[in-house]
Symmetry: C2
Subunit: 246 residues, 2 copies
DNA sequence: TTAATAGTGTCTATAAGACAATATATA
DNA sequence: TATATATTGTCTTATAGACACTATTAA
């Protein structure tokens, strides 16, 4: 803990502190590419260098980091992130990382369902399972590293909980959940093993004592599940949720 | 990413940024208490409030967080942390958390073997497995929360790797490794299951083609292992390292 | 009918969890 | 010898991984 003497807050220079945000989404499938894909929201810089970057902004007095993240999207992208909670991934604290001076960056990861990103699809770039841009391009500054660690963190979270980033709403089918996980992991999963394990942590949605089914899929209607047990996993349960791969 | 206009760094007030550090160790066993115990290094404040706090210090221009952590201990405790790497756990960013003004705190966790803390045992307080002080006391400010999250993080890391904080030196026996894990987890482990799993990620120390044994234990001499595979676990292996409990 | 998706049955290999036995040292 | 610790053997249970099968819808 720091010194309490009255002068202690003014003795030394202070850094500028910014938030940078990897806003990830799992995009809707297309005819050409039936699998769901991970995408990241980028900004095109208007000054040099002109490459894409993760959105960000300085933190202002009276704001939390979460406030600054929400403000970044409302001011720079015109996007309301609603109740989504950005997660701090790490601090970029190399004193030389910004040529303008001493700038710390707080990297956050945030995920939103693609339905909340309609109208700004042009700012979404596909990302592979390791966190590299699918088209082989690079982000400016140290943002390539940031994206890689964001994707890694999100993948890990999805290995431990059914839908920690709440990309699916309050009810969903196992097929929707599996599509989401395959998008996050970037690889196909075993249907039966996945379903059996996930069912341990979900409860069927009941109306009048009868299970609810989803009829939009084209095949046999799927049972609908609630997210109820999310976040209430025991330590023992958490371990078992690590996902099977093909 | 932030604006590049020349005025952007001076437009807004900047926060003071401090590091606070939960320095954890697994204390040597005593006669009264044969089990190893988790302990944390605290400072006794000289001004009010006078309770114990985690050591910390403002970050100065040109320093990384790691630099500031090392400086905290060399200046305030007279301790050289050597090559140990502090890990950032999170940022405490509530604008109201410090009555002196806008102070962000970067909480770090760091672990050192108890052999490096000789002479300052008086500043070590026992901690239970949840991260509460064993004597029921509280730390000042928001440092109780910090300690809880530090212990949780350390415990999780030890569930995923044999000795991620390098508390054991380059060679060790399975008994030493088990004592360490029991100290970190705060509960006994199954000896045979623990050994079998850990052996997958360790290699026996060989001299002249013969395995080396440790004769200090009083019973049958134990095989000595190297840490060689630490940090080189595959994803598949990492999952299997989660530990069995009694 | 066919196609598509949902869901179940079952087998094998692996490992956790548990208990017991054996091995090798010191006092 | 007794005692302490290390190490191995083995049994049961659980489950991942894999494959095949059945079920229920739409077109």
């Amino acid at each position: 803990m720091v010194d309490m003497s009255p002068s202690s807050l003014s003795t030394y220079p202070r850094p500028s502190v910014a938030v940078d945000v990897a806003l990830l989404t799992v995009g809707a499938a297309t005819d050409a590419d039936p699998a769901q894909r991970l995408k990241v929201l980028v900004q095109q810089r208007t000054s040099t260098p002109r490459g894409p970057v993760l959105p960000g902004r300085f933190v202002r007095e009276g704001e939390t980091f979460a406030d600054a993240v929400a403000a970044t999207f409302s001011e720079k992208v015109g996007l309301d992130i609603g109740g989504a909670e950005p997660r701090l991934l790490g601090m970029y604290d190399d004193p030389q990382r910004d040529e303008r001076g001493w700038v710390l960056s707080a990297l956050h990861v945030l995920a939103l369902p693609s339905s909340m990103l309609e109208g700004i699809e042009g700012q979404l770039l596909a990302v592979d399972a390791e966190g590299h841009l699918a088209d082989g391009r690079s982000l400016e500054f140290d943002h390539d590293d940031m994206l890689i660690s964001a994707v890694r963190r999100m993948r890990r979270h999805y290995e431990e909980s059914p839908d920690p980033y709440r990309l699916l709403g309050d009810t969903f089918t196992l097929g929707q959940l599996r599509d989401l996980h395959e998008g996050v992991l970037g690889e196909p999963l075993l249907k039966d093993t996945f379903n059996r394990r996930m069912k341990q942590y979900l409860t069927e949605k009941l109306v009048g004592g009868e299970p609810v089914r989803e009829h939009e899929t084209g095949g046999r209607p799927a049972l609908v599940y609630n997210r109820t047990k999310d976040g209430t996993l025991t330590e023992r349960e958490r371990r078992r949720l690590l996902l099977p791969r093909r």
